[in-house]
């Protein structure tokens, strides 16, 4: 077991703990910004340009936001 342990790499998360809040803030703000832009001009052409990036930003942003406040999901 110990030899296996030594040969493995320590786990490093994608975003470190100190960076959770800034990353969450940036992602959520772009998410809301894009949501706002989409709500002004809704059409099939703008959807992939605005709606999908907005959903992605909000998705990742909410995960990092909940980690930033201390609930590590």
């Amino acid at each position: 077991m110990d030899s296996q342990w030594d040969s493995m790499k320590p786990f490093v998360p994608m975003v470190g703990k100190e960076a959770h809040l800034p990353v969450a803030a940036v992602l959520m703000l772009t998410g809301f910004l894009l949501t706002g832009l989409f709500s002004i001009n809704k059409s099939v052409t703008t959807a992939p340009l605005l709606a999908i990036p907005a959903s992605l930003a909000l998705g990742f942003g909410s995960v990092y936001l909940i980690c930033a406040v201390g609930v590590y999901v």
């Binding site: 077991m1 296996q4 342990w5 493995m8 790499k9 320590p10 786990f11 490093v12 998360p13 994608m14 975003v15 470190g16 703990k17 959770h20 949501t35 989409f38 709500s39 809704k42 059409s43 959807a47 709606a51 999908i52 907005a54 959903s55 992605l56 909000l58 998705g59 990742f60 909410s62 995960v63 990092y64 909940i66 980690c67 201390g70 609930v71 590590y72 999901v73």
Partner: protein, 483 residues
């Protein structure tokens, strides 16, 4: 003496799992049927029994030389424990010169007075040869406060009753018992008839020696009972229940520990009512006391965000000091816990996950190594211990190897924040654990594909996108009146 809880603990031998996988090639047929006596194939010589009562539970180490007096090689050595004591045994380990031996716990037979632990020697002992054997065991709940009621500032005395000879299933040629106390104040001890010219026992400071005795047969059943009463003005801390919750988060890079304790003090009860005035006035001098005043948790360095709450709310009488060298958490219960009193509380803290979790080269296999039990550095015994390890959502192929025998182990789905399917959690239960078993490591391995990691933001992504599509569709509905 036989409470409902004790009968539950008796299930431990029946369901014990020795999960230290490499050693489990043992023959696990339960030890004896009714009326069993081990065959007299061994003889003990030079037995030294050291009973350590410096902590409020008893640790016994028996060092002896065993001779094989039969004509064939023997590999099974039996250790007898009386029926009334076996449920209080926390652990029994055996070791030889070549390393630890496997010990099988007895299947509890209520009709039999003696229960036998079976030690399987690593290499069978040839006929006529001798080997050294060390047996260590810990026994809880055997020290009684005498007097049972004391004043708030009085000294506390605990009483221990044992047997003159070491319990052995075989003839013992020469033996001696040494008892060690935390201090040299032992006002009462059983005086036996003189052993040759010397007194029995002989005492020197904190050590009392009974013996040496010559040939002892197993049917003497331990000889006379000896009772010693010693001063111990410190709390006798017992956790009737302890729940430890370990949660691993890959997104946050964090491992969260939360422990719930139900604590009581098994020391002498108070004669009069508790006087807060007397307590406050004497506390400045910090005298030794039988009440639990504070608990110190020496955590692994790197601990962050520690909290201490109970049913009422946050308990502010705590201190947490964390730097690269140490993480020192000191808790004071809301009131000093005297004999017979209870207190329950919750403690928790976080760590960076990189100290405990390692990932394989292909990025999908993970190994988690955490201390199985981490608790106060004061001497503590636990009646029931429940350890829960919660792994991220989507973890599969979960295997764990606990360092001590368990009563039960179950895997279930734990639902918490942002979960869709639920997280895999393993709940392990053990009983009658002593604080010497702190810091042993629990190893959990699991398989966690990267796709499972992206499940969480993907769920939110789908949800928000559905909302956008719906809002676009709704905007297409024409609600104009007339043309």
């Amino acid at each position: 003496m036989y409470s409902l809880q004790n009968w539950g603990i008796l299930l431990l031998p029946l369901a014990s799992l020795f999960s230290l996988a490499p050693c489990s090639s043992a023959d696990s047929t339960p030890v004896p049927s009714n009326g069993f006596t081990p065959p007299q194939v061994f003889k003990n010589s030079n037995l030294l029994r050291t009973i350590d009562i410096t902590k409020p539970y008893v640790r016994e180490t028996i060092a002896m030389v065993i001779d094989n007096i039969s004509k064939e090689p023997q590999a099974e050595y039996y250790v007898p424990i009386p029926k009334g004591i076996v449920e209080n045994i926390s652990y029994l380990e055996a070791r030889g010169e070549d390393g630890p031996h496997i010990v099988n716990t007895p299947a509890f037979i209520p009709e039999s007075e003696m229960q036998y632990y079976r030690v399987l020697l690593n290499t069978p002992l040839s006929a006529g040869k001798s080997a050294k054997l060390w047996i260590t065991l810990a026994q809880t709940d055997c020290l009684i406060p005498v007097p049972a009621l004391i004043g708030q500032t009085d000294k506390q005395f605990l009483q221990w009753t044992g047997s003159q000879y070491a319990a052995s299933a075989y003839v013992t040629e020469k033996q001696k018992t040494k008892i060690r106390f935390p201090n040299s104040e032992v006002p009462n001890f059983t005086v036996l008839e003189k052993n040759g010219e010397n007194d029995d026992p002989t005492g020197a400071g904190a050590w009392y020696t009974y013996g040496p005795y010559k040939t002892v047969n197993p049917d003497q059943e331990g000889g006379k009972a000896i009772t010693l009463r010693f001063e111990y003005t410190n709390p006798v801390i017992k956790m009737t229940r302890m729940e430890r919750h370990i949660e691993v988060s890959h997104w946050g890079g964090n491992i969260a520990f939360e422990e719930r304790y139900w604590m009581t003090n098994l020391g002498a009860k108070l004669k009069d009512t508790f006087s807060r005035v007397q307590w406050a006035s004497t506390s400045y001098y910090n005298p030794p006391t039988s009440a639990i005043k504070h608990l110190t948790f020496p955590l692994i360095p790197g601990a962050q965000d520690a909290y201490f709450t109970d049913e009422i709310g946050n308990v502010s009488t705590s201190r947490f000091r964390s730097n690269i060298r140490e993480a020192h958490l000191e808790l004071k219960p809301r009131y000093p816990v005297f004999g017979g009193w209870n207190y329950s509380f919750v403690v928790g803290w976080n760590y960076d996950l990189k100290h405990f979790l390692r990932v394989s080269q292909d990025g999908e296999r993970y190994v988690l190594k955490v201390p199985f039990l981490e608790g106060p550095k004061d001497s503590i015994t636990y009646d029931e211990v429940e350890i829960t390890v919660v792994l991220p959502e989507g973890a599969t192929d979960v295997k764990c190897s606990p360092p001590i025998p368990l009563i039960s182990e179950e895997e279930y789905l734990h639902h918490t924040f942002m979960d869709t399917r639920g997280r895999i959690a393993i709940k392990m239960k053990a009983a009658n654990v002593v604080d010497e078993q702190h810091k042993k490591e629990l190893i959990v391995t699991y398989h966690y594909p990267t796709m499972a990691l992206y499940r969480k933001p993907f769920v939110i992504f789908t949800g928000v996108l559905t909302l956008f599509t719906l809002s676009w569709l709704v905007s297409k509905i024409d609600l104009k009146i007339g043309k």
